[in-house]
Point group: D2
Chain length 325, copies 4
């Protein structure tokens, strides 16, 4: 039986990158149209997440839509860039009310882009909202601003979904939305149906979470609106190719999704700095297809029974044999 | 002006310890009466937290009370031992319903001990509640049991306070109550006024939290029922002497407490494996007194102003000069 | 073709454990004879590593030998217990010269045990040699003692091999022999042929090393005298079942061994605190046999070619397909 | 008595930065001349370390020298940029021999710049030399290239000093020169007098080292050619303001330098992304002066005596009282 699973990727998977050392970048600048073609050439991608404003500011929506159509791609999310220079001291929590207003306006504009592209959500990734040093911020005020900024957007745009992608840190030394639990605390306070979590597998690993447990928790709160995968060594958000370091925990993550009948797109959030971008995507999807087959093979009842006894050996063997075939 | 700040310590500060290598222990077994005398000899301690069942099972409450009185000590909390062999697969989340019931009974008995000693709370430290391996537990059921077990106790004993001391891990490879945010999620669900958090400074550090931020968050939810301090290198719960590694973050932690008019006991949770136990307590309290003086010296308004601009340099200088004198 | 690979385990794999919380242990005390029977019941073990003095002090070598013979087991190494109470401030680096002498005598006695059992080496695991706090030790003197203690033993016993098992920390907050490179620095200084490294896969992971790289380095210095495997989450020496968390890096580790024609025993160093001890060993060895088959399937030339281009995708695919079959 | 201690900084302390998110940078591009003026305005700096090729390629050495003279600054080191796009797969270890040659030529040209400016050393910071994935490189060949590249330069330029600045990782997921011990292993193999270590305090912290111990080790091998300081939270190379997080370990680091009569420049390697660059330097130097005074106050004999007993409490109190005054 052919799988109906849809795959996606952040469009930045196909960009070239800068960092504080290689300031001339890990390759030449690419246009958005080129990146869309590259995404299309992976062959298994159905959707992309687009940062906005688009990398080529002059490009019309029509041209982008045509390029997407040519590659049989749709837009799943729009990610407003609330982490650039203007927002280096925060978007929602910026000490300057004017900058906070600019962030609000930028995201509000992104809502229109979501609608125009028929996308599913605005993705909020508040990577600059946080602090660097002890004593730098008033933690009460800081967290209140972090929640209020999201809450206001959700209230003003009840017909659009927002997803928060939490991460422990980077670029800020410490991010406000740092974990699944902290984000859920905020969502409980905001108490609106149109804000959820986009769970990044690698961010959960990096934060010392068990990604499968994080997924279950977000599902139990009705807030798992999206997810993406990659890999890392638990000490940083390396955005490596999914499955290369932690295949078993990746498998457990998808097991939890299937057990809960969570049916969304399996997205990639990878940064192949030094590798062939298309091949890096293909390698990840090859593994995700193996995961899918592994789930088909896995005896859910037997696993549940082993888990009811907390029997790590029996449960682990079932999982291992299902994945390794 | 003399300080009225009260200091306390877990009685285990004065015990000798075992670990998986030095199975013959880091010193001879000590009786509870001896440990109480040692606590008294520190000279600055007003209260102790007692694990229960007491280390000497035959000892009467009267004898313990007399020994405490002799040393001008009171009992602040009772910590039922829900992390020994019987509970090695969990207390609240044990796969065996009979063991869960035993945990419930043990803690219920500890309630009576709290009342008899006029203590402030039952401390719950569910160090075995969690998991070790991917696929070992059903995360939904596991977390539900973790919450239900605490909720039932709080509901059955409305006249007694319970505090949960969260920690990322140890002895379990991953603990269910692993962070301030996860614990607050549970407390929101449990929704009873008599359950709160005992915030261990070192556990927050170990979990990648900023302890000052964790304290503010717990206070904002009205759940900071207690706290204790120590130090570590952020990678493990070393329970070192407070102030020896992270003096600035310790200072920020107490700054948040004072700013919020949080007036509780400053407790020590240290494990001086290889050091003189009484001197280790004294060294910590010397530093806590320096912190107190630093807070007296600190210009709260100027700091608040610097924080309103997220000015790490200005805020950091104010804090440093206040603490270093 | 049947494999000739020999497997082994530390005898403590079959012990029950204590820690600072479950001071009553994770199960009843077991006799050495029982543990040897358990090791035998795994079915794939050929050798064991024995801590010494033996857990049952009254036991004669003859009885142990008979029990080993009954289970078709030989002794690969003797591990003198230089990390118990007496040595809590260090064995080689203890501030008390008398204790250092006791460590020397204990290890010297272990040399005789090695000879009597026809074992391959004395294993030195100096888990208490190190420090806990800034300013606690004079680092020059400390490291000199750490090297001199090992050097003296190696010089006095030229007919016996010694292996050092390094680890970043635990029980000491920081261990002197903390990494493969530091240990090799010492071995270069000691400059004797009969001291090498026992490389624990999990200790390398825990220390931020790539275990395959550590193995290559030790081999390049002619110092890889032994190895054992397990798994962990990189933040602590969890001693979990091998292959459960990091199968790809474990595979790379054994790839390096085979590429260098390193032909020694594949040993387990696992601590199944809460799991069935025999099943935990079996599960690990099942995976090691899969690793062996994976190495047979792996195209070494193609991999070498991909590595010559640093092509992570091509190399990773080759490895993944070989291991996953 | 006035201090004669010289202070320095990497010129990048006064630059603006990019990262993979804020690709438009944390401020406008600055010219080298501007940065030199800013360095001068700190008031306590005597030397700077210059990356090369200079940020403004057209600038003559004369103009730079004049600007330095105007600010009473000298050049301590030249840091060739062997971590930019061209070298993204490594400088010394690049799979392409042509790129390795380019790195060699660039560094050779930097030797001439060192001589022209009367600087003390060429600084080698091989941030791209390493790997990202399991199986990506042949570890034997990789490490050999890492050593040979440095060795060749040192052999060809016996009249110039080279310093290697090790770091666990970033930008490469794992760096070859990752620790003090690994670097010393290489230096022992290279066996030339003109290559040493530039020890970055924060890199040692990040690598799980005790920076004071690392300094002692490098000194004991006669290889501590330079040093710089900053701070971080042990999980990443944050390059925060020195003294803000780990004042005690910074104090211990300088204690080891003084005890060994190491008399070099105390340099800053800070990246004040979001802070006032000049104030960030001033704040650090204020603390370094406090460290200097603390060392004057510290009773070295009493400390040595406490260390001879591994008495963490006595030693820690002496250090704390000396630093806190």
């Amino acid at each position: 039986m052919a799988s109906n699973q849809k795959f996606g990727a952040g469009i930045w998977h196909f960009a070239n990158y800068l960092d504080r050392y290689a300031t001339d970048g890990y390759g030449d600048h690419r246009t958005l149209l080129d990146m869309i073609d590259m995404a299309g050439s992976v062959g298994d991608l159905s959707v992309v997440d687009l940062t906005w404003p688009f990398v080529d500011p002059g490009l019309t929506h029509e041209k982008i839509k045509a390029q997407l159509a040519k590659n049989q791609l749709e837009v799943i999310g729009i990610t407003p860039e609330i982490y650039t220079r203007k927002f280096m001291k925060g978007a929602f929590t910026n000490p300057d009310a004017g900058v906070r207003r600019e962030a609000h306006e930028l995201i509000t504009d992104a809502v229109a882009v979501v609608k125009d592209f028929g996308a599913s959500y605005v993705k909020l990734w508040p990577g600059q909202d946080g602090w660097d040093y002890p004593f730098q911020v008033d933690h009460h005020n800081h967290w209140k601003l972090a929640m209020d900024g999201v809450g206001q957007l959700a209230a003003e745009n009840p017909d659009v979904k927002f997803v928060i992608e939490y991460k422990p840190r980077e670029p800020r030394v410490k991010m406000a939305y740092d974990s699944v639990s902290r984000t859920l605390l905020a969502l409980e306070k905001i108490n609106l149906p149109n804000v959820g979590i986009l769970l990044d597998f690698g961010h959960a690993l990096f934060g010392g979470e068990s990604p499968a447990d994080s997924a279950q928790l977000a599902i139990d709160y009705g807030r798992l609106f999206g997810m993406d995968v990659n890999d890392n060594f638990r000490g940083w958000d390396d955005d490596l190719i999914a499955g290369t370091v932690h295949p078993m925990e990746l498998f457990e993550f998808f097991y939890v999704l299937r057990k809960n009948n969570w049916e969304g797109v399996w997205q990639l959030d990878q940064f192949p700095f030094r590798d062939d971008h298309v091949e890096a995507a293909k390698m990840a999807i090859e593994f995700l297809k193996r995961v899918e087959k592994g789930l088909d093979r896995l005896d859910f009842d037997a696993l549940q029974e082993a888990q009811s006894r907390h029997d790590a050996v029996a449960a682990g063997r079932l999982a291992r044999e299902a994945l390794f075939g």
